[in-house]
């Protein structure tokens, strides 16, 4: 097999090869990036725990539930643990510095979320410090916060009577082992918020956004959900209990057709590039008619002629795809930082990299198939005719 011919043929038209490969690099980079966005947007759904339920108002997620519900939910057979989750909705210094903050039960949080791992600080300090907070490691990168810092968060919902910002003390920095909890959230004690509201130091809705319910081992998820819903069927607030995955899916559906749109853009880009590569390979096949005739005349078989064109196409697409994947991996930290508010779960996963490379090679096979097939069937005397 004249392997050296494959690369040499590609290099025979350096500008054309460079342009085609560059279009592939851009296409694969775009596809990987778009898919990473979709993965980031749906990370919560993919990483949702199977043993957790979310109890929210049946009216809307924006309607709070009474605090008294927690004890009743905890009584339902099959429920092992409940944990408050209250959306705070503040920002750091400027509204553009927006990230998620939740008031939670500090004494139950670690048990409810075993996937949260405290990297720095004392885990117990979260419970011991009333104004303490746990922050995701992405926030430390973004704002340079460290354990012991006092972080002022300006409220949008829970206004303080003095008109100032809420101050939280960073007692721990966490990372999540699963994608349902991102690393750009601030968790603080719900009791800190509740006390301020009760004492009149702040104003805002007194209830809780959702209760996260951890099931006991072997509990029937559907039966427990139904029982919780039935428990509050007659009010004062009807509830809707869903799995964590379903709950996360609500947020994805709020984005409307964005994931579909991103997927469509990726598909369109891929199709356009397929045409470009196909055109290049058809041109290469036509130009190489005489060369292929020579090779066959010298005794190389039809399979070699087929392989020369097919491997050329695969090499072109493979190299372009590999560079595109490489660029998407290299740029991932920058994208993750830039998109941390919108898509905190942005990551170029191994599956995305494999998909990018796989699609490039598939493009290579499709684009190379027709010229390679023609090369395999080419008759020497036709190829070597003076007008060929």
């Amino acid at each position: 097999m004249p392997w050296h011919l494959i690369a040499r043929n590609l290099l025979a038209h350096p500008v054309r090869t460079l342009l085609t490969a560059s279009s592939l690099v851009i296409a694969v980079f775009l596809i990987c990036t778009l898919r990473s966005l979709v993965v980031g947007l749906t990370a919560g759904v993919e990483g949702a725990a199977s043993n957790r339920l979310v109890v929210q108002s049946a009216v809307s997620l924006f309607v709070d539930l009474p605090l008294a519900y927690q004890g009743k939910v905890a009584q339902v057979p099959g429920v092992r643990q409940t944990c408050k989750f209250q959306w705070f909705g503040g920002y750091y210094q400027d509204p553009s510095n927006f990230f998620a903050q939740f008031g939670v039960d500090a004494d139950r949080f670690y048990e409810s979320y075993p996937e949260v791992e405290v990297l720095e600080g004392d885990p117990a300090a979260f419970l011991a410090t009333r104004a303490g907070c746990l922050i995701g490691r992405d926030l430390t990168r973004r704002y340079g916060w460290k354990v012991g810092d006092r972080v002022p968060i300006k409220p949008t919902i829970f206004q303080r009577a003095d008109g100032g910002a809420w101050e939280f003390e960073v007692v721990g920095i966490y990372r999540s082992r699963t994608s349902n909890v991102d690393d750009a959230t601030l968790f603080f004690q719900h009791d800190y918020l509740r006390e301020a509201l009760e004492q009149g130091a702040a104003s805002g809705p007194p209830g809780v956004g959702v209760y996260m319910v951890t099931l006991a081992p072997g509990a029937d998820l559907v039966a427990v959900s139904r029982e919780i819903d039935v428990l509050f069927e007659n009010g004062p607030q009807r509830v809707q209990t869903t799995t964590e995955a379903e709950f996360q899916r609500q947020f994805v559906s709020m984005l409307g057709g964005v994931p579909t749109l991103l997927g469509s853009i990726g598909g369109g880009v891929l199709f356009a590039i397929l045409l470009a590569v196909l055109n290049t390979m058809l041109m290469a096949g036509r130009e190489r008619t005489r060369d292929l005739g020579i090779i066959k005349a010298l005794g190389f078989g039809d399979g070699v002629a087929f392989a020369l064109l097919m491997l050329e196409s695969l090499l072109l697409c493979g190299v372009g795809g590999a560079i595109g994947v490489g660029l998407s991996l290299l740029s991932a930290p920058a994208f993750r930082q830039g998109l941390s508010q919108m898509v905190p779960g942005y990551a170029v996963t191994d599956e995305t990299a494999a998909l990018g490379l796989g699609l490039s090679l598939l493009l290579g096979v499709i684009a190379g198939a027709a010229p390679a097939w023609r090369a395999g069937r080419l008759r020497v005397i036709q190829a070597l005719r003076p007008e060929a």
């Binding site: 043929n9 025979a12 005489r290 020579i294 005349a297 010298l298 005794g299 190389f300 078989g301 005397i381």
Partner: protein
């Protein structure tokens, strides 16, 4: 007298062009001896190139038998014919037909890729073949950096690389000026005399044909007269 190197019996090859069937070879018997230098002559359309293609296993006869070195080419499939070509025949074409992306030595080395020779030996053989044609100093030049005569000599070196018994040349001097053509013809004569290569050359050029030992005339797909030339004529004056 032993078996001829090439034996053709009742060979027919027809083409359909524009709905009309044209018999390029219309029933053909011919024996060609090993070590001969044959010139195939005749007007355009007489079947010279068709005959050469059949002898080289590049095309297949519609009827009859083409036996070369004891092997019946008409009974072989495409893959067997390709292998046979690699082992038994070297081609020299009018348009040189070198691969433009390869250097001279890489072009000569190409047919050697089909042999079990290791890389170093392949290179050694290719350089030797280039030396035979007087182009060892052009080994690493691309075809576009060579003159027409040099390109044809590289093509001859490529035809020699696998040391085949049979060299088929289709108008090898057709694209060359007289002086360069004479150099190429001289090389073919030398290969025939010194290395006992059987050479079959299609040509329109009587001066080129004069260098062959035997001239076979074809006309309208039929065998014409066969002329023996005891001693090949010397090169014409440039």
């Amino acid at each position: 007298m032993g078996e001829p190197l090439i034996r053709l019996r009742g060979v027919v090859r027809a083409y359909t062009r524009g709905g009309e069937t044209i018999k390029a070879l219309a029933g053909f018997d011919l024996d060609l001896e090993e070590g001969g230098f044959y010139a195939l002559m005749g007007p355009s359309g007489s079947g010279k190139t068709t005959l050469l293609n059949l002898l080289g296993g590049l095309d297949k006869a519609d009827a009859g038998q083409v036996v070369v070195d004891g092997q019946d080419l008409t009974a072989m499939g495409n893959a067997d014919l390709a292998r046979w070509r690699a082992d038994h025949v070297g081609f020299v074409f009018q348009g040189f037909n070198l691969l433009p992306v390869l250097t001279a030595v890489q072009n000569v080395e190409l047919p050697l890729l089909l042999t079990p020779l290791p890389r170093s030996k392949r290179r050694e053989h290719a350089l030797y073949a280039l030396k035979l044609v007087g182009l060892e100093d052009r080994a690493h030049h691309r075809p576009r950096e060579l003159s027409g005569g040099q390109e044809q000599r590289v093509a001859i070196a490529r035809a020699l690389a696998t040391d085949p018994k049979l060299i088929l040349a289709d108008e090898p001097t057709g694209d060359l000026d007289r002086a360069t053509a004479d150099q190429v013809l001289e090389l073919l004569v030398r290969l025939n005399r010194e290395f006992n290569k059987t050479i079959i050359m299609v040509t329109h050029d009587p001066l080129a044909a004069a260098r062959a030992r035997t001239v076979v005339h074809l006309d309208k797909g039929l065998l014409g007269r066969i002329e023996q030339q005891d001693a090949a004529a010397p090169a014409a004056e440039a």
